[in-house]
């Protein structure tokens, strides 16, 4: 049986890359999320500022909702922290020995920063801000 016709099924999801594999996957998802947002936001800002269009206002209502903000802040904070880790480890390859520790440190920073962001967003949503 050739390698490509082999049935893998759910076992395929069990690639054991560990924490850094999840970072890699989340980095892609958050990156795509941000570029789609930025591109749409540039277009909506143009519609709103230079044409006074209602479509621009509609876009802004979505962008200002706490659900969308929770998503985009997750993307930004995760992508920045993970990107910084990648830059540091790529610049000083000797540190790759500690890449697991670096990943844990990254989450140690992410959890309180994103937690506070969520707290502020939910508080504002509940108070109708």
């Amino acid at each position: 049986m050739s390698a490509t016709s082999r049935s893998v099924g759910l076992q395929g999801l069990r690639y054991r890359g560990g924490t850094t594999m999840w970072s890699w996957a989340l980095h892609r998802v958050s990156g795509v999320g941000m570029i789609v947002f930025v591109a749409m936001h540039v277009v909506s800002a143009f519609l709103l500022q230079n044409l006074g269009s209602d479509v621009g206002k509609l876009y802004n209502t979505v962008f200002e909702s706490w659900i969308f903000q929770s998503f985009i802040y997750f993307c930004v904070i995760f992508h920045v922290l993970n990107g910084t880790r990648v830059i540091i480890l790529d610049t000083w390859p000797k540190l790759l020995e500690y890449q697991r520790e670096a990943t844990w440190m990254q989450w140690l920073i992410f959890v309180p920063v994103y937690g506070l962001t969520l707290l502020v967003l939910v508080q504002r949503a509940l108070s109708g801000g």
Partner: protein
Amino acid sequence: MLRSRTVPRRGWSLEFVMWVFTRVSGAVMLIAGLLAMAGALWLGARTQMDLATLMRWTFFPNPNHVINSNIPDVNLGWVGAFWQVLQTLIIFFGVTHGFNGLRVVIEDYVSSIAIQRVLRALLLVLWIAVMAIAFYIVFTS
């Protein structure tokens, strides 16, 4: 169909240049954000705006981002050549970083070279269009 990848040639290739660019632009955006935030605090953001407005300014120091805050006059300090240069840098590095990332992700999952080329051309057009619109906004706001 699964297809093995060709080994890229050594030296200055698009992939190598963009690999370096991704890291440099990431660091530049981080510094630009810190600079925008520090500038806002220096201009009086602590008493004149809420956290959400400060964050919007941090990501992109455009006067439209602070127009609904308690700043008495946006024209005093929040508009000008310095912020326009910073916005231009953020747009160039951010949009290029993002569209190159999209190219890398797409080319990882699309194995047909012909479709890859079509999508690459589409991304090139979108990249230039988004940057052009953003520059227009920066210099008319």
